[in-house]
């Protein structure tokens, strides 16, 4: 996978070519290498420090962290953020921001619950398909609305999506009459399908997260539309002069953000078995944090779908760490907040350092 924003100087490249095999060069230059390294280091540290317990069902001694249930649960917890983070990253790369993804999630879920209550109360495969269609349709519609308002009203996307964040959640609140709506069992069976792994192991959200992240990466890096998104975020004026239809691209990225929020709602709501207007409240900040920790630049032009997923996994992993290590969880917000700020500051410092080296002629 190629980097989108390589700051390697010719001298660096030459130096590497002389010392490393092409595979190693590609591996080391990949954006994912560092995040994966940190995640693996955390996994190892947690496995060593977590202690163990005797499983109530099997009577066997089990590591408190390094067991299939905890690992899949951690990935599942990350998956709903991560799926939304893929869409949010695409928006951020384009130079925009979407604060409404949590509300889109809630509205898609509530719409699904209300429609299923009327159209498919008995559940079955039809209910799963209908739920999927409703969530995707609501997500796309909400995204298209955001995009159209950003383009049509020429108001900063922060303001537009701040407004739609409240509007969409308000619609969900009014429509649901503040009730928590139970979903048909078939939806939960789908989202919690063990896929042969055994009881109480639910890999579907994790697999969906991987698939959607890969699709996002392919879209961004292997398609013309994806390159247009980078071009728009990197330099909107240059993109305009080169003939790109910026309005269409902008609407497109918000549609994708809405789509991923709808997909996350479908999976998340099915997994937990109910929907309410309060769902995913505040999740937009975790989603944006995931994108930023994954290296997305808020001014646009840089970011990666895979890294956004890894960013989500890293944030959830650190939250999990606090509990696995039995640290006082009241410190969770402080720790995650500090880590995000420090990560971005270091990333920017690194970028400035690289730019200075480039200006000085490399080396």
């Amino acid at each position: 996978m190629t980097t989108v924003d390589s700051r390697m100087t010719p001298a660096d490249s030459t130096s590497q070519r002389t010392r490393l095999s092409p595979f190693m060069r590609r591996l080391l230059r990949s954006q994912q290498f560092g995040l994966v390294g940190v995640i693996v280091a955390l996994l190892i540290a947690l496995s060593l420090l977590a202690g163990s317990h005797i499983d109530a069902a099997t009577g066997q001694t089990v590591n408190n962290f390094l067991n299939s249930h905890t690992l899949i649960q951690t990935a599942t917890d990350a998956s709903f953020f991560a799926i939304m983070a893929v869409g949010a990253t695409i928006v951020i790369i384009s130079g925009g921001i979407d604060l409404s993804v949590g509300s889109v999630y809630a509205l898609a879920g509530v719409s699904m619950g209300l429609i299923l209550r009327v159209a498919a109360p008995g559940g079955g495969v039809g209910a799963v398909l209908l739920a999927f269609i409703v969530c995707v349709a609501v997500g796309i519609a909400a995204g298209a609305l955001n995009g159209a308002m950003v383009v049509g009203l020429r108001v900063h996307p922060f303001i537009i999506t701040l407004g739609s964040m409240w509007i969409l959640r308000g619609i969900a609140f009014v429509a649901s009459k503040a009730e928590s709506i139970l979903l048909p069992e078939s939806l939960t069976r789908f989202a919690k399908s063990p896929l042969g792994l055994g009881a109480a192991l639910y890999p579907v959200p994790m697999l969906c997260m991987l698939v959607i992240s890969v699709l996002g990466a392919v879209y961004l890096q292997r398609t013309v539309m994806g390159r247009h998104v980078f071009a728009l975020g990197g330099n909107a004026e240059a993109s305009r002069f080169s003939g790109l239809r910026l309005g269409r691209i902008q609407i497109g990225v918000y549609v994708l953000a809405g789509l991923t929020a709808g997909l996350a709602a479908f999976l998340g709501s099915g997994f937990y078995g109910s929907v309410s207007s309060g769902d995913a409240n505040g999740y937009e900040l975790y989603v944006i944090a995931s994108a930023v920790v994954g290296g997305a630049r808020l001014s646009g032009g840089r970011g990666s779908a895979i890294n956004a997923m890894l960013g989500a996994v890293l944030i959830v992993l650190i939250r999990q760490s606090i509990r696995t290590l039995h640290l006082d969880q009241n410190y969770e917000w402080i720790i995650v907040g500090c880590a995000i700020v420090v990560a971005v500051v270091l990333d920017q410092a690194s970028a400035r350092f690289a730019a200075r080296r480039l200006a000085q002629g490399g080396g």
Binding site: H53, F173, Y272, G273, S274, L314, L317, I318, V342, D347
Partner: protein
């Protein structure tokens, strides 16, 4: 130079590892309840030979004082029962900072994965946690609910008030204070919490029995004291003829602002809960009646019932009913002393001296 492509992305993720390492190294406070028995030991056998019992406690929100009181009750019960049973009992506090049923479901799974022997939970959203409770039970971990139930789940018992009845009682007390007539409002907290919704239903049902009582509205808000008090003031300004508030939770009275912003001669409040910060409202006559849930007992009785179930193998009723305590100016002293006995440090001294 060869290190640059390696270091840049690592730097991006490094703060997490550094912070975590720093937390561990610098002794970031651990959850050391009075009965903690070696963090991370899980179900391992202790030096005394007894296998510790770990109870995960998941309340709705760690910023709500009633749940902090419940935690204190749980930890005290764990300490007492550890002495009585000879088995170390540990309460693991897994309450999210804000109400979120989805996070609660995740924490149920986490508790099971890390070897908890039982779970005690107050459900923010029964629908969201029912699946996780059933999974926990299927994996051999019994679950008990308190305060807010998940009645459709496989939990073995629920401890708390009858919420609909409590709502009726709140409105009934208010109707008595107002002499059966006047415009009133209901302060309702989180609109998604099933127990609060039932209290609101009860309050409305009771009001419907009295022709002189008119409900101007049911007002929801984020369950923080400031949000609740601000909502009361907003509504009071918008409806100057409002005579009474039926508060199905005590949030607004956890601040002092209503003591000065509302006139006891014009408006009366009846609220659920009677924590130390609410007692001046009784003394000043603004809230002549508070219906206290013994939130300390949520944790205390919850842990006791869990130990009855998993240690003593006793039968525990499916519903263990809690009766609210009526706190008025006559009972203020005895209630204040009860709160102090339960470990509340901020009970005003003057109330402790009352009869």
């Amino acid at each position: 130079m060869i290190l640059r492509p390696i270091l840049r992305p690592i730097l991006r993720g490094a703060p997490f590892a550094v912070l975590l390492a720093a937390m561990v190294a610098s002794g970031c406070p651990k959850k050391t309840g009075p009965t903690a028995t070696g963090e991370g030991s899980g179900g391992a056998v202790t030096a005394s030979g007894a296998k510790p019992i770990r109870i995960a406690m998941i309340a709705k929100s760690s910023t709500n004082p009633v749940f902090l009181s419940a935690r204190r009750g749980a930890e005290t019960a764990a300490k007492d029962l550890s002495g009585r049973t000879g088995v170390p009992i540990e309460v693991i506090w897994l309450t999210p900072p804000q109400e979120d049923g989805q996070i609660q479901a995740q924490r149920i799974a986490q508790a099971v994965n890390e070897g908890a022997n039982a779970i005690l939970i107050s459900c923010s959203d029964a629908g969201k946690v029912t699946g996780a409770i059933n999974d926990a039970v299927a994996r051999g971990v019994p679950v008990m609910t308190f305060d807010s139930d998940a009645a459709q789940s496989k939990r073995f018992s629920y401890y708390g008030v009858d919420d609909k009845q409590l709502g009726e009682d709140v409105m009934g007390e208010l109707v008595k204070l107002l002499g059966g007539k006047g415009r009133v409002a209901i302060l309702a907290g989180n609109q998604n919490a099933p127990n609060l919704r039932r209290r609101v239903e009860g309050a409305k049902a009771e009001a419907a029995k009295h022709h002189g009582i008119q409900i101007i509205g049911t007002f929801y808000h984020a369950e923080t004291p400031q949000d609740a008090a601000a909502e009361v003031i907003r509504v009071d300004n918008a409806y100057p003829d409002i005579k009474g508030w039926a508060m199905v939770g005590g949030w607004a009275l956890f601040t002092k602002t209503l003591l000065t912003d509302l006139d006891p001669k014009k408006v009366k409040l009846v609220a659920v809960d009677a924590l130390p910060t609410e007692l001046p409202y009784v003394e000043k006559g603004l809230a002549p009646v508070l219906l206290a849930q013994s939130s300390y007992l949520w944790g205390n009785v919850g842990v006791t019932k869990i130990i009855d179930k998993i240690f003593y193998k006793k039968d525990v009723p499916e519903v263990v009913s809690m009766d609210p305590v009526r706190v008025t100016s006559e009972t203020l002293g005895s209630w204040a002393r009860q709160l102090r006995q339960w470990g509340f440090p901020d009970v005003p001294e003057e109330y402790l001296k009352l009869k």
